[in-house]
Every structure is written in structure tokens, then in C-alpha cells.
């Protein structure tokens, strides 16, 4: 079977539960909605800038957060399938092992798209203005980022196959620092020097800046380019590491 057909078949299998239960997508928006509803007003109140301007920087951050948390935990599914035996079943199927990783990672794009759209629409009545082309490009950026981060989460699952505590430990220990050090919720302009240095090494910082720039309609900025480069590099690394891990899987 060709890699493309096999990847398509794996992708289809992964999407089936989502299509059967579309409400699960909306349900998993609860966390970002909590941030939007409880953290947003705090941010608006503590900033001298008008609410709409705060939202303009906050909403793109929330969209990246959806992608970050949605794909960061996705490896747990694979971990579970490795423990039950359904992963083993796919390993004996006559399909390239790499398709098992790529198909899964590609699937990650779908929920992100749906969720980000819903989220952007929900905030418009509150004064968030969005450039439609910018939103479209912003979704593409999120999809590439989600693909890469999802692939990394699957790699982590494959690496933790014999110790599932390792998966949860590493995941917990990295997601929040990555989130805070990307300026996703609180801008890092007034952060101490060391945090700014750390943020400069965090690819998600670039994705967040690009997302802000795109949704504001600043389509051809350096921030946009930087975001796409960061997401593409992350996707390349994620897929590379993930495919290697999947090929070694037994």
C-alpha cells in the first residue's frame, strides 16, 4: 500500500470517533472558554488600554492555547492503545509504520480548525475584530503547529510505552512553561530579562506573535513569517522524531 493511501486510511480511522461525536469538540472548548471568561476580564481591567485592544492580543493567544493543549495531550490516546493491544493490531497490518504516525498527526489539525473558528466567532460580539484572510492564514498556521506538536506528543507516548507516568510527568512539566513563556496569556514585555531570553527560544512565542499579527490584518509582517518558520520547523522535527519512534515500535 502506498504511503498516501495508508496515511489516508489511518487519518480516516482517527477521525471516525470525532465525526461520530462532534459534540466532544465543543466540550473540549470548555478550558479555553474558562480562560476567556475568567482571565479575559482581569486582563481588560488591569490594562489601561481599551477592552477591544486587549482582546485583540488575547484572543489569538487563546487560539494557540487551544492548539497547544489539544495536541499536547493527544499522545495519551496512543499510550492507551499501546496498553490495550489495538496499537499492536495496527503494527501487524500491511501499512508503512510511518503512516501510523503521520495519519494521526494530520488528524490533529481537524479539531483545532473547528475549535479555533468557534472561538473566534464567540469573541466577535465582545469587540474582537478579525481580518477574514488573516483568520484563514491564522488557521493554517495553527494547523501546521498542531501537526508538529501532536507528532511530538505521540513521540513522547511511544517513548513512555513502558512507563506511562513519564508521559504525564513530562507533559505536565512542559505545557505550562511553554504556555507562559510564549506570552500567550500575559504579554512578556515587562517580564524579567531571563524570561524574555527563554521566550526567544520558545517556538510557540513566534506562533503567538504571528497569530496576533495575522488576525489584526497585518498579513506580510516579519512576525507572520517568523511564526510560519517556527511552526514548520516544529512540524519537521515532530514528524521526524515521531516517525523514527514509530518505526522502532514493537
Amino acid at each position: 500500500m502506498t504511503m498516501t493511501t495508508a496515511t489516508w486510511n489511518v487519518l480516516t480511522r482517527e477521525l471516525r470517533p470525532v465525526l461520530r461525536d462532534p459534540f466532544s469538540l465543543i466540550f473540549s472548548l470548555l478550558q479555553p472558554l474558562v480562560f476567556l471568561g475568567l482571565f479575559g476580564p482581569l486582563l481588560v481591567a488591569s490594562s489601561p488600554a481599551p477592552a477591544s485592544q486587549t482582546l485583540q492580543s488575547f484572543v489569538p493567544g487563546i487560539l494557540v492555547m487551544i492548539a497547544l493543549f489539544g495536541t499536547g495531550t493527544t499522545g495519551s490516546n496512543l499510550l492507551y492503545e499501546m496498553q490495550t493491544g489495538s496499537h499492536e493490531r495496527t503494527l501487524v497490518a500491511p501499512i508503512p509504520r510511518s503512516s501510523l504516525l503521520v495519519g494521526r498527526a494530520l488528524k490533529e489539525m481537524v479539531p483545532i480548525m473547528v475549535q479555533a473558528c468557534v472561538m473566534a466567532l464567540v469573541t466577535i460580539p465582545f469587540g474582537f475584530s478579525v481580518n477574514p484572510i488573516g483568520l484563514l492564514l491564522g488557521l493554517v498556521l495553527l494547523a501546521i503547529f498542531g501537526l508538529g506538536f501532536g507528532a511530538l506528543s505521540y513521540s513522547l507516548a511511544l517513548a513512555s510505552r513502558n512507563n506511562d507516568w513519564m508521559f504525564w510527568g513530562i507533559q505536565q512539566a512542559t505545557l505550562f512553561p511553554l504556555m507562559i513563556l510564549s506570552g500567550m496569556l500575559l504579554p512578556l514585555d515587562n517580564a524579567p530579562q531571563w524570561m524574555q531570553v527563554a521566550a526567544a527560544f520558545n517556538p510557540i512565542s513566534y506562533v503567538v506573535s504571528a497569530e496576533r499579527s495575522l488576525l489584526a490584518g497585518d498579513l506580510a509582517s516579519m512576525a507572520t513569517v517568523g511564526g510560519f518558520v517556527a511552526a514548520a520547523v516544529l512540524a519537521a522535527i515532530g514528524l521526524g522524531v515521531g516517525i523514527r519512534a514509530m518505526k522502532k515500535a514493537a
Binding site: 500500500m1 495508508a6 486510511n9 480516516t12 480511522r13 471516525r16 470517533p17 461520530r20 490516546n77 492507551y80 492503545e81 496498553q83 490495550t84 493491544g85 489495538s86 499492536e88 493490531r89 495496527t90 503494527l91 501487524v92 497490518a93 500491511p94 501499512i95 508503512p96 514493537a250
Partner: protein, 314 residues
């Protein structure tokens, strides 16, 4: 080519921390096309590990094997395209629906959508899963999950099928149903079946060849009937009115032992010997013949009963 499985010196050692586990040692195996082979052994004997090497899931530590005409080490893809495997675990994804998972499995094996759908419905029907087609796997009972595992393994009607304890967790009716399926596959497609089981009666009844593994080594390989006659034998027990009668009779039956007024002897073809003994010894008051089971074979081979070992591990 008549051998569909050939293995030479297949060995697997695991390293867990500092300890070395010899899971399978020096497995030599030739299985003819179309054979139905049962693979027995207590927990931890190395059955699953052997199967996982033959199905390309685990690279052997040493040794070679050719499965369905392809080398497991140099051409695993060639092997995978020709076999089916029902593992010891649950094959279906927990968040999938029953029929969806069958369709995905069909696609993985290169079946067209319509073929996969037709075959899926056929299997759902015959494995009594029809009513569960749109149910989530997570909510199925253990036996229902097992039946789905079997359906998933059969969807592409492979020429060689490996099954790792397929009947575990099944009720008697589902077990009978499973075997009906396997026998039918064999009759219609000449499928070679390699199955591990803890149900000795299954092996006895259906397999034409029985392999016994213990501590990673193959310790017997023959038909069930041969194993039973060569390794176990029939047990005849005769009762007498008095101890004196018993002793007198025992002196005329070689290899017999006497306890009180009862004489016990392990013999070949007890079914022929027993009527003769009853005719010749008119003091006999009761007579039983117990024909051996595969458990007696295991006891003879290892000094342990398979059932006892099972119990100790379970």
C-alpha cells in the same frame, strides 16, 4: 512450497533492569500449509513471544524464520501482507465504534470500501455482534470485545492466521462459534491456523498437531493422540471384594499397583484390555477406564500439571 512457517533457532531474551529473561530459546518449527496447530504451555512459557516474533512484532535476539514465504527480519512487510493476527489483548480502539473499526481494518488490508463493508456485516452477523455495530468499544463486555477481536483478525481472510488465546473470556457458545469459524476458513480457503490456548479440550478436539512449550523451550510436538499414548497412557482401575483378590489380580497385570482392594494400572489401549481383564478375572466388582488428557501429557513431560501451574500463576 509446502512449509508456510519455518523457524530455526528462534530465540528471544529480554533484559529487564539487570535481569535477563529467556522468553524463547532455540525454537525450531516447520508448519505445513493448511495445518491447524495448537500451541500449549503454562503462563510465561513463551507462547506469545514466539507468536510476536513470527508476526514481525518483535525482532528475535537470534535465529531466523520464514513466514508465508517471506523472511521475518528482511521482509517484514511481505509477511504482514499475508498473515492475520489476533493478539492476546484487545484489538479494537476504545473510542471507536464496532463497525467503524472493522471498516478501518478492511482498509488497512487494502480492501475496497464495499468489500470491507460486506465482509464486516457478514462477520458482525455470524459472530453475533450485529446488535452492537454502532456501540462504542469501551462499553462492550469482555467476551463481546473478544468476538470483535476475532472479527478484526478474520476480515481479510488471510492464508495464515495466528491467534493468541482467542477463546479466553468467551462463553461456551461463543467458543463453539469461534471454532466453527476457524474450521470453515480452513475448509473454504485452506487457511493455516496457529493458535495458542489454555483450553486443552480445544487443542485435543480440533488441532491435528499439538506443540507444548515450557520455560521458553518446545518440549513436545506431535498429534494429540500420539502424545497421549506415548506420554500418558490409559488408566484402568479395578475394584475387588477383598484385598486378597486384589493382590491376586495385580500379580497378573504388569505395572499395576494395589491400594486396599483397588488395583490401578497405566496401560496402552485400555479400551481393548479392560473387557479382557473383566472376562479373565471373575472376582472384579467394579471397573473404570480413564483415557488420558493433554494435561496428563503435560504432567508426564514436566512433572507438573498444567492446571496446577495455571492456578499458581492466576
Amino acid at each position: 512450497m509446502t512449509h508456510i512457517i519455518t523457524a530455526r533457532g528462534l530465540t528471544k531474551t529480554f533484559r529487564v533492569k539487570k535481569a535477563v529473561v529467556d522468553a524463547v530459546t532455540d525454537l525450531d518449527l516447520d508448519v505445513q500449509r493448511g495445518e491447524l496447530v495448537a500451541f500449549l504451555g503454562p503462563n510465561g512459557a513463551g507462547k506469545s513471544t514466539s507468536l510476536r516474533m513470527l508476526t514481525t512484532l518483535l525482532p528475535p535476539t537470534s535465529g531466523t524464520a520464514t513466514v508465508a514465504g517471506h523472511d521475518i527480519a528482511t521482509d517484514p512487510a511481505g509477511v504482514r501482507a499475508r498473515i492475520g493476527y489476533i493478539g492476546q489483548g484487545t484489538s479494537a480502539g476504545h473510542n471507536q465504534r464496532v463497525r467503524d473499526e472493522l471498516l478501518s481494518q478492511g482498509a488497512f488490508y487494502g480492501m475496497s470500501r464495499t468489500d470491507a463493508a460486506a465482509r464486516a456485516d457478514e462477520l458482525l452477523e455470524s459472530l453475533d455482534l450485529g446488535a452492537l455495530a454502532t456501540r462504542k468499544v469501551l462499553g462492550l463486555s469482555g467476551g463481546q470485545k473478544r468476538r470483535l477481536d476475532i472479527a478484526l483478525g478474520l476480515i481479510h481472510s488471510p492464508e495464515l492466521l495466528f491467534l493468541d488465546e482467542p477463546s479466553t473470556g468467551l462463553d461456551p457458545q461463543s467458543r463453539a462459534n469461534l471454532w466453527q469459524h476457524l474450521l470453515e476458513l480452513r475448509r473454504e480457503h485452506g487457511t493455516t491456523i496457529f493458535v495458542t490456548t489454555h483450553f486443552l479440550e480445544e487443542a485435543d478436539q480440533f488441532a491435528e498437531r499439538v506443540l507444548v512449550m515450557d520455560h521458553g523451550r518446545m518440549i513436545a510436538d506431535d498429534t494429540a493422540a500420539n502424545l497421549k499414548t506415548t506420554l500418558a497412557g490409559d488408566v484402568i482401575t479395578l475394584g475387588f471384594a477383598s484385598e486378597a483378590d486384589a493382590r491376586a489380580a495385580a500379580s497378573r497385570i504388569p505395572t499395576s499397583s494395589t491400594t486396599g482392594s483397588t488395583v490401578t494400572a497405566t496401560v496402552d489401549r485400555g479400551d481393548l484390555l479392560l473387557p479382557r481383564l473383566i472376562r479373565e478375572l471373575d472376582s472384579v466388582t467394579s471397573a473404570t477406564l480413564r483415557q488420558p488428557t493433554l494435561d496428563d501429557v503435560f504432567l508426564a513431560l514436566t512433572g507438573r500439571s498444567l492446571r496446577e501451574t495455571e492456578g499458581a500463576h492466576a
